[in-house]
């Protein structure tokens, strides 16, 4: 048991730090959730990609560095410590890409991954529907077989960044007669500007169009845009959903950086005693999440899988994030009400953590049933 990184890993960390130091924009970019901010963040992705820092853990042939899990974690620590911009491509990079690397064809990987890595094509996740939230398997949007592909019809919603994104990936019901709701689903990719697609941006709490509804009317998708086997979509989607709540979606680096920023704010405000314990808890929580992740990464490197344990992560980081940002706003006092600050932007973002990627109630059910072995009950 040790926490020491090899000299080669440390060299990688130092290289990342230096690059970030030289390239991270001095002034924060405009909000990712606005048209202008989206474009600015897309250019930042291109800059990252030009020096192969956008997807360090991917294979080199698709724009990565074959860096592996540990170096990815180190990169993330440096990335957030450098106060670098939020990642506009994260849904594609962290949700779709691992799925394609596991289940996609080589043709799909070669066609889809490089422009994803460079921010040229930004992906949105189209899983949720108006009537299918926590009970995702009850989804109703259809995929109907047609010559050389499929026709998609129905409605998707809450699709993050779909207001400005290019493509989306989602689950569709291809066999309405399947015995169980999880069966007969197909995992497909489609263009957000394809004929038959209407995108209606939705304003989140602070008015920014952070997500969108998608109306699909016989949208044609060719066979080469089906991920894995038709009808097996649920399994394929779930095999990588662990990524969403697990360490890939929210790396510890992000919370370490936020906790340090909070500590700094607390010091600048004259170390008010009333907030001391909450600041300490943010630091302790960030350290706990970091070390927990190192343990999970060590297990993965030993060839084990993470499985339902990713639900522990999801609840932990989402609650940590909210507590941390609430503390910051409280420390700011009346200034904390100002909506055009980074603290406020991050607070609004944090508020959604317990909802997306499977609500925390759903995660607690998974923990209780699959980790503690408690009986399933009426939900």
């Amino acid at each position: 048991m040790d926490l020491a990184f090899s000299p080669a890993d440390e060299a990688f960390r130092a290289e990342a730090r230096e690059w970030l130091h030289a390239h991270v924009p001095r002034a924060p970019l405009p909000s990712l959730e606005t048209e202008e901010g989206f474009a600015a963040h897309r250019s930042w992705e291109a800059e990252l990609a030009a020096d192969r820092w956008s997807v360090v853990n991917w294979p080199a042939r698709y724009g990565g560095r074959d860096a592996g899990l540990l170096r990815w974690l180190l990169f993330e620590e440096e990335y957030w410590a450098a106060d670098a911009p939020g990642r506009v491509g994260q849904n594609g990079i962290q949700l779709l890409a691992p799925t394609l690397l596991d289940h996609g064809t080589e043709e799909q990987q070669a066609r889809i991954l490089p422009p994803m890595a460079s921010g040229e094509v930004v992906w949105a996740q189209a899983w949720s529907e108006p009537e299918a939230g926590s009970d995702l398997a009850s989804l109703r949007a259809r995929a109907v077989r047609t010559n050389g592909g499929w026709l998609l019809t129905g409605q998707k919603t809450w699709s993050s960044r779909a207001a400005f994104a290019d493509h989306a990936f989602g689950l569709f019901r291809s066999d309405p007669d399947a015995a169980r709701p999880h069966q007969g689903l197909t995992y497909l990719m489609f263009g957000l500007r394809a004929p038959g697609v209407t995108v209606r941006p939705i304003a989140r709490l602070d008015g920014k169009p952070a997500f969108a509804e998608l109306f699909l009317d016989e949208v044609f998708v060719p066979d080469e845009d089906v991920i894995g086997e038709p009808g097996r979509g649920w399994r394929i989607a779930m095999s990588t959903a662990g990524n969403e709540r697990g360490l890939m979606l929210r790396s510890p680096g992000r919370f370490l950086a936020s906790a340090r920023r909070l500590e700094e704010l607390w010091r600048r405000r004259g170390r008010p005693a009333a907030a001391r314990d909450r600041v300490a808890d943010a630091l302790i929580g960030a350290r706990a999440y970091r070390l927990f992740t190192y343990a999970a990464a060590s297990r993965l490197l030993d060839g084990e899988s993470v499985g339902p344990e990713s639900s522990l992560n999801k609840v932990f980081w989402s609650e940590l994030d909210i507590a941390l940002h609430e503390t910051a706003l409280d420390l700011l006092g009346p200034e904390g009400e100002m909506a055009d600050t980074e603290w406020a932007e991050r607070y609004v973002f944090a508020l959604a953590g317990p909802l997306y990627a499977g609500t925390n109630e759903i995660q607690r059910d998974i923990i209780a049933e699959r980790l503690l072995g408690l009986p399933k009950g009426r939900r």
Binding site: D2, L3, W266, L283, A288, L291, F292, L374, G377, R379
Partner: protein, 320 residues
Amino acid sequence: MRFLLDAEQRAFAASLDALLTAAGTPAVIRDWSRGDHAGGRALWSRVADAGVFALAVPEAYEGLGPRPVELAVAFVELGRHAVPGPLVETVTAAALLAGADPGTAERLLPALASGEAMATVAPEGAHALDGDAAAVRIAWAPGRIRLSPGHGPVRPSLDPARRLTPLLPGGDVLGLPTDEALTWARLTTAAQALGVGLALLDRTVGYVKQRTQFGVPVGSFQAVKHRLADAKIALEFARPLVFGAALTMEPADAAAAKAAACEAAYTTARTALHLHGAIGYTAEYGLSLWLTKARALRTAWGAPEECRALVVSATGDRRW
């Protein structure tokens, strides 16, 4: 970087677990609470034979240590089985004595390593744990540690298995206290608390699966499940803090581990008590042995605010 226990460390935990399970600790604990130390001493020497106290004693004084990671492994097991006695204090005394003059260290440490003697330590003026059972009693004041010649009357703790004793004044001055010893105390308290919490969770999960109301196991109710899920989360995130502190032995890291593990154990105790219903509130039901310890460990060797204060006052290039 491999932040996981290795096979040998896991085997050590498993062998301690087996030893403690076979020892029937509940009866030992209840005797200890009444001041009958015979069973506790026998158990102590088995724990010592497994090498536990030697891990805190340097090799120069017939120990195997110092080995904080293995000690943390051991203390999780001692906590899981609610083993009574001045466990943390003996380790802390060993850390203090290792820094005392070589003559004193040579005289006192081998007996701690072998389990022949228990030790207790308390800040000057505070009550020491199990001073009536310990052969070595150390009073800790800023600037000096002192070997107390004896103890005063026993006062009960909220945890009946913890017997609190004032230490008599006088006695030889042994040397200077060290911050490092406090780090040992916090690390082992944190590990012990984690073990206590894990045992409470385990027992409660078992109970709610078997207790039925409204015709179904109470563990199938979502309100019950979610409280247990929260306990699981708190404990699983305290665990890496404990082992992280064992690796660095930084005072702030040990304070963080202590705050988080004791908090996790305590909230788990509250959950365990609640989910057992009234039976959990009784002294004769075994759960009480862990419930009361979770409360006591929370303030032993640094109350929550004290530990948190240390976390925010830590300086240097911390990459937390």
